[in-house]
Symmetry: C2
Subunit: 168 residues, 2 copies
């Protein structure tokens, strides 16, 4: 049997931009399995990270549909369906609605875009725009959790493992 | 019949420390009655002010039980029952739990303290401390709304009125 390595707070910040989340996950690691890591992530994100931590995590994401060199590889992968299906007019409309959303709610529109087309993302943005701010905050946090789970899963599929008994 | 004066954003900031709230209330004024003002306040606070505005309003309050020259007259009135019933040990415990609360949630413990004793406030703080952050954020916002309503009512009872037809 192989046991995963401890996770560093730096690794965790690439998964979720909240420093409180990253520190708590690193402290709780190593995890015996991906399932254990996912359970810990859910508990820490929903029960321990405060609203400032949620906003900090949201702020680590590019606006959906943004293509700039600073966008992370994971963000690009998650948005690949949306980016490949965006016509110029959809991209323009997305940019406008993103700005309107940020003006109303004070943070970037969060969506786990994996596998969703640009038109689907835009429809969801317009639907959620009508939410009350507190309802939308929780919806955004749930999307952030989905992204966190997706990235943790990727991290575990990449993570080198060490034998559970090591030779000095 | 007398109609209330328009409310200034400055007046409204003494009622609720969110600049978005204050600007929207000032823009919606004058109100024909206190009831109209209370309805507008509820709508603006719950439907329009974003989470950053909520945090801004919370930050305008002293920690419950705090006595310093900078605490506003309204805050002192609202806390008069709590302050007059606080023994040294209750005051000490309140200060400790306030600090613990702020560490967990990232904002000051919000409670409409009007008429509540120090022991009641402390019991409520301990109870709410167990909440998930998103649940507590909404509870705090509801308390802020109660304080806002109380202060608006005081403001209306003080507000000078002008005749609905004025003589130039």
């Amino acid at each position: 049997m192989a046991a995963p390595l401890p996770l560093s707070a730096e690794d965790m910040l690439r998964v979720n931009g909240s420093r409180r989340f990253a520190a708590a996950m690193a402290a709780a690691s190593p995890f015996a399995s991906l399932a254990d890591a996912l359970l810990a992530a859910r508990r820490i994100w929903l029960d321990e990270v405060d609203v400032n931590g949620w906003l900090e995590a949201f702020a680590a994401h590019p606006a959906i549909g943004t293509t700039s060199p600073s966008v992370s590889k994971w963000s690009k992968e998650e948005q690949s369906a949306a980016l490949s299906t965006a016509t110029d007019s959809t991209a323009q409309e997305l940019a406008e609605w993103n700005a309107r959303y940020r003006e109303k709610f004070g943070f970037v529109f969060m969506i786990c875009a994996s596998g969703r087309t640009a038109a689907e993302v835009l429809a969801e943005l317009k639907r959620r725009y009508t939410n009350r701010p507190i309802v939308e905050l929780e919806a955004a946090a749930q999307e952030e959790l989905k992204i966190t789970e997706l990235r943790l899963t990727k991290l575990f599929s990449l993570e080198p493992t060490v034998p559970s008994t090591t030779i000095e």
